[in-house]
Amino acid sequence: MAGTSFVRKELMGQTPPPMTSAGIIGWLRQNLFGSWMNSVLTILSVGFIAIILWEVLPWIVRSSWTASSLRECREAIDLAWGDHVDGACWAVIRERYLQLIYGFYPSEQYWRANLAFILLLVSLAPILFPALPRQMLWFSAAFPFLCFWLLWGGTLWLPIVAALGFAVGYLAFIAANRAAGQLAGAIAALLAPVVWWIWLAAPVSRGLDSVIGIGIEPVESAKFGGFMLSVTIGITGIALSLPIGILLALGRQSGLVILKSLCVGFIEFIRGVPLITLLFVASTLLNIFMPPGTNFDIILRVVIMVTLFSSAYMAEVIRGGLAALPKGQFEAADSLGLDYWKRQRLVIMPQALKISIPAIVGNFIGLFKDTTLVSIIGLLDPIGLTNNIRADVNWNGIVWELYGFIALLFFIFCFSMSRYSMYLERKLNTDHR
């Protein structure tokens, strides 16, 4: 049939899309009023948001910033906006914000907490943004010890001696490896630093301090509180739970039956127990098992529990990432002669972690918010402090303002984490560019 044949003589060029699918109107149409159902939902949600703002905004705005008690607040609001107007009493935040941030940390030492926070940002920068010079990572490695010293004070020798624990572990590994093989080396590398930290670090640093004393005023853990406490526990937990989670995930995949069952047992046990239980164990039970006389710091205990808890979840998240990798990646790495650790580090983990970024950051955010649970075992994190503030006769009965302020600060932290994770995902997306 000659009539059906068709030949295009000239190829068409590109033409712009029709107005209805481009521009603001196009966007509105596509996203908000795409269908009958969509339009109803749009109108309902806009109405809902409007009602909430209608109720909340006046409360936020018609407020008092300068009273010194809840009663004065109410009087000031009545005076300014008329009787029976319900307004926020931000004066409590004005009076207590330092406490909510620093807890009972001595005010003449605030600079130490501030400095630690700034240095935290500096040490995070090279980890978060690979474009920065790699030498900065040395500072990141030293930061935990420096931060510990800044916050708790005392002799400078203690963090130095604590850092030496890693050197001790390395030496023990070399020695045991030579004497009795790799397994012995690994065990020695794990045990030696623990022994060093628990029994030797304190006396050694005391000894060094008595010879050359360098130190700043010590601040005991009981004085820690507010956001400073949340950030301390949260960041330490975050920083430790990722590497531990990776090791647990790898252990769970290992061919060594004992290692594998240990990892599975640990992960399943921790996931089966509420964090609150672990925190109670940390606050009460743990002391029973410690040698009498040892003073095992409560914040340290809590950090350990939070870390263990979070790393069990982290392990499962990473296991999901590992399972999503095609088998070919393992085989290609093997066939190129990369050994187990190089394969994990250079080929598998970069991809598995990338896949798991949303879940990992979700875990981080969860962990950070879970730090508020420490109020239940009596630590004075921001939530713990609200009770403390309400115990003051002046502020008895104040609720929304405190929780609102705390929520705002938590939101800033969590939202930045979430934005960063989206940035990272975009940056690492090399699949379909």
């Binding site: 070919g328 990646q329 290609a332 066939s335 080929v347 990338k354 690492l428």
Partner: protein, 263 residues
């Protein structure tokens, strides 16, 4: 399946088979549970040989060449590669893997690394070659497979044929003395098959010892010096390409050839 693979004359001046044994497989057996995947394989490969392995799907072709660089474990028999006995000793496995390059059906490039990084990764971390030198070597081999201008891209941005050529270059960067290919063209669109086969022909022209699982019978005829036919986990027939194609002996081979050549 096209019979004629390349229109240019193949340069056979370096394609010599020496009498030096590079791979020696004796009485090798492999099971998956009770399933006998490889049955009593005996195979000797000499330096400079270009062997094509063919056979129906599930015959154990992949298993055979994967056993050679220990991606799969064999349970019985012996494999000796370049004088190293393949055992569960990790040192030997690493040694053999650094002598043997491998290309996969699905390329298996590392998607998070650029083409150049894909090629320099193993030389830097396994052979401890300095970065500069590794990059120069990588560019040399990328030029050879004719994609030096893609070096800074990511694998996901390349076509299948280009990816497979990068995979070949990546293996070559480790300077292997033997190359294994597991159906390197079966995941490719027809127009890309030729560019990959051309690369493989050039490799053969330089005298590389090659073991290729492939159904490209044109390649087998023109490049191979030996064709091995496998079925049900065993070597059923092996011969020089001429004799193999023109005068197959066993019925299974005849059946297979008639199916694949479409007669």
């Amino acid at each position: 399946m096209s019979e004629l693979l390349t229109d240019r004359e193949i340069d056979r001046s370096h394609m010599e088979v020496s009498d030096e044994v590079v791979i020696e497989i004796t009485g090798m057996n492999k099971w998956f549970g009770t399933f006998h995947v490889l049955r009593d394989i005996n195979l000797t490969v000499f330096r400079g040989e270009r062997i094509v392995v063919c056979g129906p799907s599930g015959a154990g072709k992949s298993m055979l060449i994967r056993c050679i660089n220990a991606l799969e474990e064999h349970q019985k028999g012996q494999i000796v590669v370049e004088g190293t006995i393949l055992s569960s000793d990790l040192k030997n496995i690493d040694k053999i893997r650094s002598e043997v390059g491998m290309c996969f059906q699905h390329f298996n490039l590392f998607p998070h690394l650029t083409i150049l990084e894909n090629c320099t990764l193993a030389p830097i971390w396994v052979r401890r070659v300095p970065l500069k030198e590794a990059q120069e070597t990588a560019m040399h081999f990328l030029e050879k497979v004719k994609i030096p201008d893609q070096a800074q891209k990511y694998p996901g941005q390349l076509s299948g044929g280009q990816q497979q050529r990068v995979a070949i270059a990546r293996s070559l960067c480790m300077r292997p003395r033997i190359m294994l290919f597991d159906e390197p063209t079966s995941a490719l669109d027809p127009e890309m098959i030729k560019e990959v086969l051309d690369t493989m022909i050039e490799l053969a022209e330089e005298g590389m010892t090659m073991l290729c699982v492939t159904h490209e019978m044109g390649f087998a005829r023109q490049v191979a010096n030996r064709v091995i036919f496998m079925a049900e986990g065993q070597v059923v027939e092996q011969n020089e390409p001429e004799a193999f194609f023109d005068n197959p002996q066993s019925d299974r081979t005849k059946l297979f050839l008639s199916q694949i050549l479409g007669h």
